[in-house]
C-alpha cells in the first residue's frame, strides 16, 4: 500500500459541496445505510452519483445484531437492495442491540458480554452474512454502563465473535478510549489484543467530557489520546481503511477533510 486509505462519513450538510464536484482529497466515503434504504429522493441520487467517483462503505445503525427478538427480515431485504445498487466495498453495523420486539430505540445499546450473548450474536451474524452473501464488519460501541454478570472483557468478546462468525471488526478507536475511561481499563491493552487480520476498518471521532463520564458525541475533533491510540494501531496495521465520523456541529467539508487527513500524515510517519 502506497498511501493511507482515509475517508469521511457522508453527511447531508455536505451534499451541495460534494455535488459541485470539487477536488476531494480523501479517498472514500461511508454512508449511513438507513439514510438511503427508504429513499429514492435526493439523498439516494447524491449517493448514487458519488459512487461513480469514489468507493463507498455502507455503515448501519439499526441492524440490532444483538437483539434477543431477532434481526428484522424486512430490514435485511431493504439493506440487500441498497447493497446491490451501491456495490459497497464494506458493509458494517454495530455490535449492540437497537430494537426489542417491534419497538426501535434507534440507539446503540450495550450487551452483556456472556456466552449466551456470544452464541446469539454469532448465530445472527451467520444468518445475516448468509442472507446478504458477504462478510460484514461489526463495530465496538461506546457504553455508559456494563453488566455485572459479563464474563468476557470487551476485546475477548469481540475476538470470539470474529473467530466464530468469520466477520471482521470495525474498530472504533474513540469508542475504545471512551469505554476505557468510563469503565476503567487500559485502552492500549484492548488495541494490542486484536490481531490485524481481525480488523477490517477503523473509525476515528471526537467525544465530549460530560464531567462524570465521557460521551460519544462525534461533535468535535479527535482528541490527542485517541490519536495516540491510532499511532499504536496504524504502525502495525498499515493497510486498514480509516474513516473520520462527525455527526454534530458538523464543520465545513474542508475542515472535515483536514481532520481526516491527519490520519494519513500519521500513517506516513511510519510507512511513507
Amino acid at each position: 500500500m502506497s498511501d493511507c486509505f482515509v475517508g469521511v462519513g457522508l453527511r447531508t450538510v455536505h451534499y451541495p459541496h460534494i455535488s459541485s464536484k470539487p477536488k476531494i482529497r480523501i479517498k472514500w466515503f461511508e454512508a449511513v445505510s438507513e439514510n438511503y434504504m427508504d429513499t429514492k429522493g435526493r439523498p439516494f441520487e447524491v449517493l448514487t452519483s458519488l459512487r461513480r467517483d469514489f468507493p463507498v462503505a455502507l455503515h448501519g445503525v439499526s441492524m440490532s445484531i444483538g437483539s434477543a427478538s431477532g434481526v428484522s427480515q424486512s430490514y435485511l431485504a431493504k439493506l440487500k437492495e441498497l447493497i446491490n445498487h451501491i456495490d459497497p466495498f464494506i458493509v458494517s453495523d454495530h455490535l449492540c442491540w437497537a430494537h426489542f420486539g417491534n419497538v426501535s430505540y434507534n440507539d446503540l445499546l450495550p450487551l452483556p458480554l456472556t456466552d449466551e450473548t456470544l452464541s446469539l450474536v454469532v448465530n445472527h451474524i451467520d444468518f445475516v452474512q448468509s442472507y446478504l452473501g458477504r462478510h460484514l464488519l461489526f463495530e465496538n460501541v461506546s457504553s455508559y454502563l456494563t453488566f455485572k454478570h459479563s464474563t468476557y472483557t470487551e476485546w475477548d468478546f469481540l475476538k470470539e465473535v470474529v473467530r466464530r462468525s468469520g466477520c471482521k471488526l470495525l474498530l472504533d478507536i474513540n469508542n475504545i478510549y471512551v469505554n476505557a475511561s468510563n469503565h476503567r481499563f487500559d485502552g492500549c491493552e484492548f488495541i494490542d489484543a486484536i490481531p490485524n487480520d481481525y480488523i477490517g476498518q477503523v473509525h476515528m471521532a471526537g467525544f465530549t467530557d460530560m464531567g462524570t463520564y465521557y460521551f460519544d458525541t462525534h461533535s468535535k475533533e479527535v482528541s490527542d489520546p485517541v490519536w495516540n491510540m491510532y499511532h499504536r494501531l496504524i504502525q502495525r496495521h498499515p493497510t486498514v481503511p480509516v474513516l473520520l465520523e462527525w455527526d454534530e456541529d458538523i464543520p465545513s467539508f474542508e475542515k472535515l477533510e483536514n481532520e481526516a487527513l491527519k490520519a494519513a500524515t500519521i500513517w506516513s510517519s511510519y510507512h511513507g
Partner: protein, 260 residues
C-alpha cells in the same frame, strides 16, 4: 441473585428507556460508567432517547416548532414520544401520527392550523424521498383533446393538499427567526399541489377549480366527467382557464400515463 437473561435485560432496559418502570433487578445488575450512579447511567440512555426522537420530530416538523416555540414544542415532542413508540429503523420516518396527535392537543385552540401544518410537512418529507419519474410532456395535451374518456394516472412524486388555513405561507416563514406567525393571516383556505419536476421539489398554489379538477382526475374520474362536474360547480370557468391549466400540468410532467 440469578443473572438476568439477555431477553430479560433487553425487556427491562426497554422499560427503563421508555420511562415506564423502575426495574430494580435490572438496576442492580449494572455497573455504571465514569463516576455515575446506576440511575444516572441509565439516565444517559433515557435522555439520549428523548433527545434523539425530539430532534427527529423537529427536523420533520420544523414549522410546527417555529410556530409554537421551544418550550411548547419540547412538551409536545415529549408527549408524543412517550405515547408513540418507534417501529421504524430510520429516525426520519418517525412521526407519522404526529399530525393526529396535535389535533387532540390543547394548543389547537391557539393554533387551529397546527395539525394541518404538520400534515403538510409530513407530506413534503414523504415526497422528498419519492423517486421522480419523467411524466408525460406536451404531446399528451394533443392526445387529450381527442378523447374525453381518458383517465389520468399521476406519478408517485405528486400530492394534493388542502386546508382551511394558509399553512403554506406559515411553512414558508419557518426559517425566519425575526418574524412571528402572529403577522401571518392564516385564516385563508389553501389548496396546493406538491410535486417533483426534474428531481426538484415544487409547490403550486391551486385555484379552487384547479384543486377540484385535479382531485377528480387523481381519483380516476374520466376527463370529460371531471370537466363537466367542475364546470357545473364553477360557472365562470372558461375553456381558456382549462386549457392553460392542462398546459401547466403537462409542462410540470405530473401525469405518469393516460389510460383509455
Amino acid at each position: 441473585m440469578d443473572n438476568l437473561s439477555l431477553k430479560e435485560i433487553q425487556e427491562a432496559f426497554s422499560h427503563m428507556i421508555y420511562q415506564k418502570d423502575q426495574e430494580k433487578k435490572f438496576i442492580a445488575s449494572i455497573e455504571p460508567g465514569g463516576t455515575l450512579s446506576r440511575e444516572e447511567a441509565i439516565g444517559v440512555y433515557q435522555r439520549a432517547y428523548k433527545a434523539r426522537f425530539t430532534e427527529a420530530l423537529g427536523e420533520t416538523f420544523e414549522s410546527v416548532w417555529w410556530v409554537v416555540g421551544d418550550p411548547q414544542f419540547f412538551e409536545l415532542a415529549e408527549g408524543y414520544i412517550y405515547s408513540h413508540a418507534s417501529h421504524v429503523y430510520n429516525l426520519s420516518s418517525y412521526g407519522a401520527e404526529f399530525p393526529q396527535f396535535l389535533e387532540k392537543n390543547k394548543l389547537t385552540q391557539t393554533y387551529p392550523f397546527l395539525s394541518d401544518l404538520a400534515t403538510f410537512e409530513w407530506s413534503f418529507k414523504e415526497l422528498f424521498h419519492t423517486e421522480d419519474t419523467q411524466g408525460i410532456d406536451a404531446e399528451g395535451l394533443a392526445q387529450m383533446a381527442e378523447d374525453g374518456s381518458l383517465i389520468f394516472r399521476f406519478k408517485k412524486a405528486f400530492h394534493l393538499f388542502s386546508s382551511p388555513y394558509d399553512v403554506f405561507t406559515i411553512w414558508g416563514q419557518r426559517k425566519n427567526k425575526n418574524k412571528e406567525h402572529a403577522h401571518i393571516n392564516w385564516k385563508e383556505k389553501t389548496s396546493l399541489m406538491i410535486y417533483k419536476y426534474q428531481k426538484e421539489m415544487h409547490i403550486k398554489k391551486l385555484k379552487e377549480y384547479e384543486y377540484a379538477l385535479l382531485t377528480l382526475l387523481y381519483l380516476g374520474t374520466p376527463l370529460a366527467g371531471a370537466l363537466q362536474r367542475v364546470s357545473q360547480e364553477f360557472h365562470s370557468l372558461s375553456p381558456q382557464n382549462i386549457s392553460d391549466f392542462f398546459a401547466f400540468l403537462f409542462h410540470a410532467r405530473v401525469i405518469e400515463s393516460i389510460d383509455k
